[in-house]
């Protein structure tokens, strides 16, 4: 505040004591920070989930790092991350611009576009499992031969099916983000461009895209880092199969820990997941140019 304020200094400077932050901090320390340390600790132990936890040095790490399934899980994770970004980013950007338009029919369509947001991942997975059934689903229903496939049983196809279902579930969320971004672009920019005779495509490329820079960074970060958390959808849809073809890292961690009862190895996978997630988040922030956190934190 203004330094020449007439308010006495002692009163002005008296902020609330930090204790107001303590309850949230305690919750977060106990159920997020302690587990974070715990996952590192457990990765150096051997534990089946029931009996005593035994220190095991680098045993679990050796298991995880020499297991070809781990490498495969990393590859599947990278593929799903890449393809779902390549599908979701352009589609949600275009839909965001589309739904930000003022036309009545677009507003009506938008109401329906957002319906997938209401469904849980489990619900989406179950719905698509039925829909993609080669006997009782979409293919035989529409009588289109090419659609009659064992979509979830064919290891060449299944990855793309998973990417599609992920897009179906998450494009609406990113569409919303872009819609909000487009609506904040000053109308005057478009009016000026129109006077200059710029067409729709040029307006999109020269005004909309550059103005959406931060929206694109936000949405992309959420997409990329979020794809490390695609667990429930794939767990219910394919269970990681057929074989290991959709067993991505979070699922691999869950199955190693809770199905193969090797909590030590699963913890090592958890550490890998955390390192990748943190690395990606920091990298994307870098790529985004100036760290916008700085301004966010002002006056904190």
């Amino acid at each position: 505040m203004a330094a020449n304020s007439s308010v006495p200094r002692a009163v002005r400077d008296a902020g609330p004591s930090g204790w107001l932050a303590v309850p949230a901090l305690v919750f977060f320390l106990v159920f997020a920070v302690v587990p974070l340390a715990g996952v590192v600790f457990l990765s150096f132990t051997s534990w089946d989930g029931l009996r005593e936890i035994r220190l095991d040095g680098l045993g679990s790490w050796a298991t995880v790092l020499t297991d070809p399934v781990t490498g495969n899980a990393l590859l599947v994770t990278a593929k799903i991350m890449f393809f779902s970004f390549m599908v979701q980013a352009p589609v949600s950007l275009l839909l965001g611009v589309f739904t930000a338009g003022g036309q009545k029919y677009r507003a009506a369509l938008a109401v329906l576009y957002f319906l997938p947001l209401l469904l849980s991942s489990a619900a989406v997975a179950i719905a698509f499992k039925a829909l993609l059934d080669p006997n009782f689903g979409l293919g035989p229903g529409l009588q289109v031969p090419i659609l009659i496939q064992d979509w979830l049983g064919n290891s060449d196809l299944v990855l793309f099916v998973v990417v599609f279902v992920i897009a179906w579930q998450f494009v609406p969320f990113h569409t919303l983000i872009y819609q909000g971004g487009v609506r904040q672009i000053p109308t005057s920019l478009y009016e000026a461009a129109e006077i200059d005779g710029a067409g729709r495509v040029r307006q999109f490329l020269n005004i909309t895209l550059p103005q959406l820079k931060y929206t694109i960074i936000t949405s992309s970060t959420l997409m990329v880092v979020g794809s490390l958390a695609y667990f429930d959808l794939i767990f219910v849809l394919t269970g990681g199969g057929p074989g290991y073809s959709t067993r991505l890292l979070p699922l691999h961690m869950y199955l190693t820990g809770f199905k193969a009862n090797d909590m030590g190895a699963a913890s090592a996978l958890g550490v890998i997941l955390i390192v990748i997630g943190l690395g990606l988040a920091l990298l994307l922030q870098r790529l985004g140019g100036k760290n916008r956190n700085a301004s966010q934190l002002e006056g904190a």
Partner: protein
């Protein structure tokens, strides 16, 4: 928890308070009104098909009886629609799972909002190393895929003898909701003019009083938004229920869909009826309060 777990890892702080996503802006793209964007329109309708087809399939199939499901064309509505599947699902303890979901959601969201709101106030109004450090810790929590910590959480919950209780779901869900809640609430609280706080302090108000009599009323829309955001994630959460509960007595809705799938196995219409029933509460909410729900969904990420 994030279900989507998915969309919950939010590494990027929103740059500005949420605007209501659905606020009417009649004149945004004036150009299109004069020269219709045919290609855009075509794409728009095409995407509608992509979105609606699976939903249509789920709804019509849930109304078929099993014989009809095997015999009829999968994409055609049933000749004789029946609600038997819904009856079957309701008879299989659906109400209990629904109640569990309500308890877990409210039990998470209300305490999470309470502690996050106080923390946001301390972070915005307070000074000093402790407050800064706390804020940085929460920001870091946004960038870390917290779900990678499920194994120690499982260990803690079993050691605390909370395994297979609703509290086992509530406690970690509160913790996971805190970083994003504090971030969004503090962004909004910064917009409350400092003079208001100062004049209240001169009147002899304590921080506790200012928190509830000034900060809360001024940031009410944000509180609602954050509440909805968290509620959706907890309501649809799957991972915590999967690893921290076991018996039907503590089953929540998303997990019940998965178990219905196992129990009914070949009775696809009944499985899909459970999907419809589980989504119905949110659909009702969507119909009556679409704007609030939508702004809660993006909770401050729209730029």
């Amino acid at each position: 928890m994030a279900s989507t777990t998915s969309t919950t890892q939010l590494p990027v702080p929103p740059a500005a308070p949420v605007r209501t996503a659905a606020a009417p802006r009649p004149d945004v793209r004036r150009a299109s009104r004069f020269r219709p964007n045919l290609l855009g329109g075509l794409g728009g309708w095409l995407w509608l098909g992509v979105i609606i087809l699976p939903i249509y399939y789920v709804v019509i199939t849930s109304l078929k009886n099993q014989a009809g499901f095997f015999a009829s064309n999968p994409m055609l509505p049933p000749a004789e629609p029946t609600l038997d599947n819904y009856k079957l699902v309701l008879e299989n303890d659906f109400v209990r799972y629904f109640t569990n979901s309500v308890v877990v959601t409210l039990g998470t969201v209300i305490p999470a909002l309470f502690v996050s709101f106080m923390a946001a106030y301390a972070i915005v109004r307070g000074k000093g190393r402790f407050v800064n450090w706390t804020n940085n810790l929460f920001l870091l929590g946004l960038a870390i895929p917290l779900h990678a910590t499920i194994i120690p959480i499982y260990w803690m919950i079993t050691r605390a003898h909370l395994y297979d209780t609703l509290l086992a779901l509530i406690l970690p869900s509160i913790a996971f909701a805190i970083p994003v809640s504090v971030l969004i609430l503090s962004n909004f609280m910064r917009d409350v003019p400092n003079e208001l706080f100062e004049s209240m302090r001169l009147d002899g108000c304590s921080d506790w009083a200012m928190l509830w009599r000034l900060a809360l009323p001024m940031t009410k829309p944000a509180v609602i938004t954050v509440g909805i955001y968290n509620a959706l994630h907890v309501w649809n959460g799957f991972l915590f229920p999967l690893i921290l509960t076991q018996s039907p007595g503590t089953r929540v809705l998303p997990l019940s869909l998965w178990t219905f799938q196992g129990e009914f196995s070949v009775n696809i219409p009944a499985v899909l009826a459970s999907v419809v029933l589980a989504t119905l509460p949110l659909l009702v909410l969507y119909v009556v309060a679409r704007r609030q729900l939508i702004s809660g969904l993006t909770a401050g990420f729209s730029k």
